[in-house]
């Protein structure tokens, strides 16, 4: 049972998609596993023949336990543990029990599942459809009264997030360094770039921003890597976890690999593909583990500053606030500029505030010259 991150202890086998005797190839999906983050498709990382399935649908299996035996054609069959497998998140609506005579939208189904609701008890609208509104109404009308402390039950994804963040705050001595950075040059450059592009090829500002963040991180390796077993292992490439909010609540941070080495269009396509698969529940295992740093971008019309929490075993996370139009002193005079507050949360076991300050200083220079950065 592969681990999908620091917050995963076990998974429940939903179904096998291959049977003993089947020849399987690297990248094939072997099984579906339910976790707190949704259903995960278990991906095979080597060719061979599936010899035995050691878990049954419905079994709850601890991380690290062998669930299948793969005959790779070598002297002995290797168990398909973490070394051979990696999972893929998949919030497939089809896994939910069907309710006869009633249509449930995928978004409503996901929200109901994350809220621990029995979907068969939710009253549909006049056309027999259970949508987000019906789930929310059900939650409001059936929520248990708050206890003396005002606490209510945590939902599954919220539990997973809370577990990871509590561990992070317990184990990682965080420090925070922040700068307000003038991104007018980036936005001007982007407006010109997009004016020359077709509608389908236009760039969100997150695309060049993430590229520049990644290339700047290569100059500050102490902010990019993993801290495990008392040692820091810097990453040679920037594999950026991108924090993506789920509709109906929750957050997931799948990774885009080698962000610094991607062209703008490669990064645009990667980001579009990733967000699309988060929305439709088609994430891959390799995207849920292996990020060397996380970028969390609040986006437009949100808030100015984000103070993020590091996702272990990473050693830094970069939080980007909304772009705000502000009076700003430039070239000795007050001008109207577009400003973004960027915060680095770093791990004091690996780096100091000076590293983050150096990173932000370099970032500011790169963002001022987006055409060459």
């Amino acid at each position: 049972m592969p681990s999908l991150g620091a917050d995963m202890d076990e998974g429940t086998l939903v179904e096998w998609l291959k049977q003993p005797g089947d020849r399987i190839h690297k990248g094939d999906i072997l099984a579906v596993v339910e976790t707190q983050k949704g259903a995960i498709e278990i991906e095979v990382f080597s060719d061979g023949v599936l010899r035995d399935c050691l878990a049954n649908p419905g079994d709850r299996v601890p991380v690290g336990e062998v669930i299948a035996m793969l005959d790779s054609g070598k002297a002995s069959a290797a168990p398909t543990g973490n070394a051979a497998l990696a999972p893929v998140a998949d919030a497939r609506a089809s896994l939910e029990p069907l309710v006869p005579g009633r249509k449930v939208t995928p978004a409503a189904r996901r929200l109901a599942r994350e809220s621990g609701m029995d979907i068969s008890r939710i009253v549909p609208d006049g056309t027999g459809v259970v949508g987000l509104q019906q789930v929310r109404t059900h939650a409001e009308t059936t929520a248990p009264p708050a206890g003396p402390t005002g606490r209510t039950d945590l939902k599954e994804m919220r539990k997973a997030i809370a577990a990871a963040m509590a561990r992070s705050k317990r184990e990682i001595p965080h420090y925070y360094v922040s700068s307000d950075i003038d991104v007018t040059a980036l936005m001007d450059w982007l407006a010109k770039e997009n004016a020359a592009r077709s509608v389908a090829d236009r760039l969100l500002y997150a695309v060049p921003l993430f590229g520049i963040l990644a290339r700047t991180l290569l100059e500050t390796p102490e902010l990019n890597g993993h801290y495990e077993a008392g040692e820091f292992s810097p990453s040679q490439s920037v594999h950026a976890g991108i924090a993506i909010a789920m509709r109906g609540g929750g957050l997931i941070a799948p990774a885009i690999r080698n962000v610094a080495g991607k062209s703008l269009d490669e990064l645009r396509l990667s980001l579009t593909d990733l967000v699309g698969r988060v929305r439709s529940g088609r994430l891959r295992s390799s995207e849920l583990s292996g990020a060397s740093v996380t970028f969390s971008n609040l986006g437009e019309n949100t808030a100015d500053t984000l103070m993020p929490i590091i996702y272990p075993p990473q050693v830094a996370i970069i939080g980007c606030g909304q772009i705000a139009t502000r009076p700003w002193v430039k070239d000795g005079e007050v001008q109207i500029r577009q400003i973004m507050s960027i915060t680095v949360a770093g791990d004091h076991r690996v780096s100091d505030g000076r590293s983050a300050a150096r990173f932000l200083s370099r970032l500011e220079k790169h963002l001022a010259t987006p055409e060459v950065s």
């Binding site: 609506a93 249509k103 939208t105 995928p106 978004a107 409503a108 996901r110 609208d125 459809v129 949508g131 987000l132 509104q133 407006a191 997009n194 004016a195 509608v199 389908a200 236009r202 969100l204 997150a206 993506i244 909010a245 509709r247 109906g248 980001l271 579009t272 967000v275 699309g276 929305r279 439709s280 529940g281 986006g299 437009e300 019309n301």
Partner: protein
């Protein structure tokens, strides 16, 4: 297209770019960002879908005019879609 056809087209694009919303009731007056927690990527995908479905060019400066269902129908109608 008449208003009903334009409304159907906009909703089809909406559900294509956000398939998890398929079947949801769309309030015509509320911006998609508020109604369905659309982020920038969702909205850009929606604009791309609208461009492909209608065949019209949509400059970035016009994005604020496409915030909700009624806004989109009015925008497309004004461009003789």
């Amino acid at each position: 297209m008449n208003d009903l056809e334009l409304t159907d087209m906009v909703k089809r694009v909406l559900f294509d770019v956000a398939p998890d919303l398929e079947g949801e009731t769309v309030d015509p007056d509320i911006p998609f960002r508020e109604q369905f927690e659309f982020d920038s990527m969702d909205f850009l995908n929606f604009i791309i879908g609208l461009h492909q479905a209608s065949g019209i060019q949509i400059p970035e400066a016009d994005y604020p005019q496409l915030a909700g269902l009624d806004d989109c129908v009015a925008y497309l109608k004004a461009r003789n879609v």
